[in-house]
Symmetry: D2
Subunit: 467 residues, 4 copies
């Protein structure tokens, strides 16, 4: 159950042709739509062409902003960010956008992803006399651009890109230019929209819908988009790069109403459920999903298997962030607060329980137990992705291999551990097929250990720890 | 779309055989499960047999309580409350439980419902010299019990009940006794559970599940349950009363995993969808629900009609309470922030869109528009309950008749207003049938204008306004 | 050093001839001036003739109120309160004014003082069916008035007064009348002022100055002042009562710029210092005061003795409320944070150190030590009031006799305890003389054990503890 | 009245020989004592030899820190800062200490003063690729040290000092070294103390007293003090520099119990009052001071003139920061809230009213009016410093020349403007004499327009505005 996986961030940028009193509000609505990508801090930076103003704080976008603050965030260009930290401490100093003043004026950077060479870049910059105030990659990126920006901003950004290794979907603004940038593998998503004359950049297309912008296209892997009063200029647009989009965006992270690189997430999950039914049929009475992440694939499983689809678990959406410490049985309580079975539905039934993934296995085991306690006769667990066997180095908090049950146990052992009557994972081929893309398009590192970029081995984990 | 209807409150009480350091925590978990019944304030009162301690504040249970506070809420008896105000201002002074000190010690009262004779009772008490500090019915109830309690608490509570008119599911505690009380019509739900030796009273059974208590039975309409060191004593248990359970609990308010008076809410909604399909078939390609309230009935509609069920709208659960003021297009933005269509699903489709109810009609109209903008060819709206034509006087915020589109327009006019290609409401007979109970069991006031108790006419609306 | 004594409360009321948008602001300014009388909570209640609106919260007036809140507190009549609790827990529920709704409308009560028969009154009211929500005397008073108010409000207030024993300076408002009331002994102060057509009631005259009102006269002991559209009506004005004004108002509580019952506080303290010099001369080089409470009497001492006056200790006014817990040496640190000697002033000097009182003795001892550490050759402590030997039952937090060093030790023992080279207390006669009034006018209970009203002995201390 | 002048900041540093659990608490107590130098934000940074931890926030030290936070601030080295901003916006990002990570580890900087070449330094750094995140001089200083620190930290700090122009009392820490640094003119104060084996650096000696440290000596103008496990090393100690200590520290800023460069502040103010009496005698009955800033000089005036000293104005120390907006008469109310005359003292008297300075003149005028309204027959205003005629460029918020009444009007015009019966300013010679130092020792810029360092003319004021 991927509640245990945490996405890194969501980014958004808007370029308008004239000053707009509602700019901050539009960015705020967009961040609202991207809130699932990060709930720890939120921030917005704007410019009317003369300096950058910003506000950022810990909390959900709806907690960080109010009318008074948004009324101040007027302008022509703005970027926003919602954050979940994967490698750095979760404090205000590390919230984004990061805003700096450099020789050419002001610069703001919002980043989704993770640089694998951040330590090298930091060290190199420090050797040249740079001092860091935060622990985020955005600071490195801002400094690289600030140093490189002597002539055109496009050149500075390109030069910066040449030094970055890892994943990055970036939204950057100077006082007169909005820039979007996606790493050459396109690991994290970034798309482009238009609303009237205005351009919008967003991690996911669902944010475009919310602010009534029209989806134009995805920013391509390796592409830099420069938007200013000369219009939109694209760099590296059709350059050949080895694409490696994170397949987990389709499995879990992205909102189902988003379309990434041409494939709708909901449709991919539905198809994954259908393929899962073909790969791992079950002799059962009812298919249920673990809400909300398993629901769509469960519907697909039901469609393909002919077994009726039902709602067997109710999710309490009020749970949110709770500050109640662990008591002896907290973990159980945590799951019970979130999920409650409908006894009348599951009683006496042989269930297929569909979820999107298994990370540590504990949660899955508790859900199986809850269903059995509620009277389910059998629980056949079906997972719409392969076992997670390896860590992610590109912006997802998968915890270390030691904690990944897929890395530590065989499928039959996992089945036993979670108490299921049977257990079936969708194959990697199946998962890839569900997206409609060829295997080469994806980063499948967490399922295969094969990464699109050299990453430190487990032994070199310090690379991400030392700052 | 019943987001426009607001439930009044949720109540919970626990009686333990010995002091329990985790009492406050258990009540907190229970309130968590009842959070959908009220999000404005939360409170817990406890006793170890010597005075009553309490904490209450504005906000969600998870915002009001933290470990430090819960660690102080130890004891043998406790009650909790989550609140949405229907008639009184929403301020701390009106939060519950209400705790008073009277001649026999301390008393705490938590109330779900609405007294229709509160003005008369207040006036009468005031004539006798009583002064009120709050605007809530719980204060009236506490004062009536305080005055009547000379001998046995049971007599005092019974005497109090004799004076109350309206709806009330009450959880009351003295320093040594826990009391549950449900109005003679049983308008608001209240059930009884056990966890080991401990008794639990709760508005809904889902809270029993969350704290691992076993459901025993519903408190009967007109019944008083007295729990103390002599065990559980029931008053009026099998007394003949004219039952009038609020049918809207099944339509919208209660959590689907709750079972009220013997019928599971999820099952009733599923059946309502099936009956709706029979009453109002549609020539369509896909059935979708308006999440979350319409989803289950949509599944029922799909089952009965043979039209495939799909997910066409994604709900943003982070929306929550936002403090952003109205801009010109706020209402639209409000809906767009909450709901986004999946274009790939709805495009080119003739849709059946199922929701649980239509109150003012504005929201439904916006959702139809959103779906059509996303490419839906036709939108056939199906509502799993009849038109809401009359105000509720028993604890639900239906707003006045003037605002109820069901009171002001005919079905065909409503269809036109919301821009649907067709519109069908489930009949009152169908709705009743979906619950498995006879019509006489329910209060159907909001659909029929026939109330189980005399209520003030619209002209007498002041009755609820003056305090 | 009387920082260890805590005053109970400050009250203020304004009656205007017409609605005033600035009413809340004027009351706020007045509370500001009375802030020294209580820093725990602040509240304001106002009426335009139709219901009472109010705001109260924990904290200083400047923390509790802001522009938005004050803008809402418009009206014709209003009362305000600042509070330090002496007998009840310090929580929001116990903050004032207390506002109730009774048969004749709304009523708000703000109280400074302490009823010695509160337990009896509570019990009696409870026997008659009353239930209490707070622990403050104001609730008793509100209930007594609510019960008695059938005809004229004046009669109700008089009847209530007949039942109260103890100290009370009360400011009460209905929707159309402002009432002031001072107990027959006049223990706590209350004065009357005018600002144009408007009447003002205040604990101290300094608040009148702040809001540009003219001082008219003190409310007399036992007097009730009724102000409404018929003008000002006085009850019991010239009735003979046995006056017993708290002399500690002159010693420490009141602000020096206030005039109580005709004597200016600053002048009384100056005179006390002069008399102290006569009673206890010292062979010394410099007179210094312990700021701020001892400064004025130190000046008087210097004048009468001919020894130069100097500033030897600097007070840090930022100390305020600090939330730092005790470490081993907290008490010392507490004093050191507040007071620092000027070495250049005290070095090598034989000092007279004047303070207003000694309660527990610990603080005085620490100040003597600080001065000696800074190089003072001798420290002759002079106290401008007699030893505090008995508890106060009328609204001052003197702690119990056990903690009062004046009750436990002789003067020579105290001198030794605090490490002074000599110690002299002003005699009771001297203190009385400093005020210009006869001894009979005062309550001298804390210095003599003789109280104007029967009070419970130490053994009956429970009277104030049980609620 | 110098409430209108705002000091820039207070700094403090402690180096201990071993880890100390109470380090953060000691720094906190020290900041408490320096709170008068800045009330906008407070911060503490500490190190145990391995990284720097810190906490900073808006507000008074007592609001920013609590036990939990202080318990975490353990270590061997720590620095603290309280701030009032003079040139930069007052936001969290600009609070201090500023902490950065550079090639040699971590570095924290706390600064009191103002660099006059900050714009040049920023521009130069930016041209070399540096990007700034704050608007404070500390960031410039940190970057200069970070760039220069290749060998010894002492060299890096010296190299940094070579580039700074303006005023700076700096406390800097690396993970193992505490550094103090005072600008070559010694404009802002900085002193050195010892507590056992530990070294303490502080803006003022009063903070040493509070934490029981012994005053050793002032850090000399131009001196750098390096403290680490090799002990204390001094650079430039006896170097000849042209001293230019800010004389306003003696007039108003410093606490009277502090001793700066060998002269006690209280003693200097007393002497200034005496000299003022000689320069500007008055035929009067009573000398009063405007509390708290004018009190000491008033005592000196009384001593020298033989006119009795009295307290004629009571200051309300609770006023503090209030968030109440301007109403028509706010300015008047602001003064009335702060100061109230004692009518009994001033009535019918010919007063000498002593204050430390006049900035804009409005406040002085209001106080004169208040005294006359209270019955003063004459008010002879005496100021213990010369007219303020020029802006300060070294860390004091004097506002621009346009607002300085001393720059705009002659003394007789000022007298008329403030409504005084006579007005006398202490001469510059007199002021200098009061300190016991020669004129060459001081920066007298605000009184004479002659600055120790080239400063931008009024026309170049942008230098401090542009960032």
């Amino acid at each position: 159950m991927s509640d245990e996986l945490k996405e890194a961030c969501g980014v958004l940028g808007i370029y308008e042709n004239r000053n707009n009193a509602g700019l901050g509000r539009d960015i705020f609505y967009g961040l609202y739509a991207l809130q699932h990508r990060g709930q720890e801090s939120a921030g917005i930076a704007v410019s009317s062409g003369n300096g950058i103003r910003y506000h950022k704080a810990m909390g959900l976008a709806s907690e960080v902003f109010n009318d008074e603050i948004l009324d101040d965030l007027t302008g022509r260009i703005g970027i926003g960010h919602v954050r979940y930290s994967t490698t750095e401490p979760n404090t205000l100093i590390n919230s984004q956008p990061l805003v700096v003043r450099y020789k050419r004026g002001s610069l703001a950077v919002a980043h989704n992803g993770n640089l694998v060479n951040s330590l090298e870049l930091r060290t190199e910059l420090q050797e040249n006399g740079v001092a860091f105030q935060t622990e985020i990659d955005s600071e490195i990126i801002a400094f690289l651009i600030a140093q490189a920006h002597s002539g055109d901003i496009a050149e500075a950004v390109e030069s910066c890109m040449g030094k970055l290794k890892g994943s990055y979907a970036l939204v950057i603004m100077t006082e007169d230019t909005l820039i979007g940038m996606r790493d050459p593998n396109g690991i994290r998503p970034l798309c482009l929209g238009k609303k009237g004359d205005s351009y919008v950049l967003s991690s996911e297309s669902c944010a475009l819908d919310t602010i009534d912008a029209e989806f134009i296209r995805d920013v391509e892997p390796g592409e830099i988009v420069i938007i200013n009063n000369k219009g939109l200029q694209s760099i590296n647009k059709n350059k050949e790069t080895s694409k490696a989009v994170c397949i987990f965006e389709f499995v879990y992270f992205a909102r189902p109403d988003s379309t990434i690189d041409g494939t709708n997430v909901h449709m991919a999950r539905l198809e994954a459920g259908r393929l899962l039914a073909q790969e791992h049929p079950a002799d059962a009475d009812l298919v249920i999903g673990v809400p909300d992440s398993g629901t769509i694939s469960a519907m697909g499983y039901a469609q393909a298997s002919g077994i009726p689809f039902g709602i067997g678990l109710i999710k309490n959406h009020y749970v949110g962030r709770t500050f109640i410490k662990s008591t002896q049985n907290l973990r159980t309580i945590g799951v019970k607060l979130k999920l409650n079975p409908i006894k009348e539905v599951v009683q006496g039934k042989r269930l297929v329980m569909v979820d999107d993934s298994i990370v540590r296995g504990t949660t899955s085991g508790l859900i199986v137990k809850i269903l059995k306690d509620a009277g389910a006769k059998e629980v056949h667990v079906r997972i719409s992705s392969p076992p997670v066997t390896d860590s992610c180095y590109f912006g997802i908090d998968t915890s270390s291999r030691k904690e990944l049950i897929g890395a530590q146990r065989k499928v039959e052992e996992i089945r036993e551990y979670i108490g299921a009557d049977s257990l079936g994972y969708l194959s990697l081929d199946g998962l890839v097929k569900s997206t409609g893309f060829p295997r080469e398009k994806f980063c499948l590192g967490c399922f295969s250990g094969e990464y699109p970029i050299d990453v430190p081995g487990e032994g070199k984990g310090y690379l991400f720890e030392k700052r």
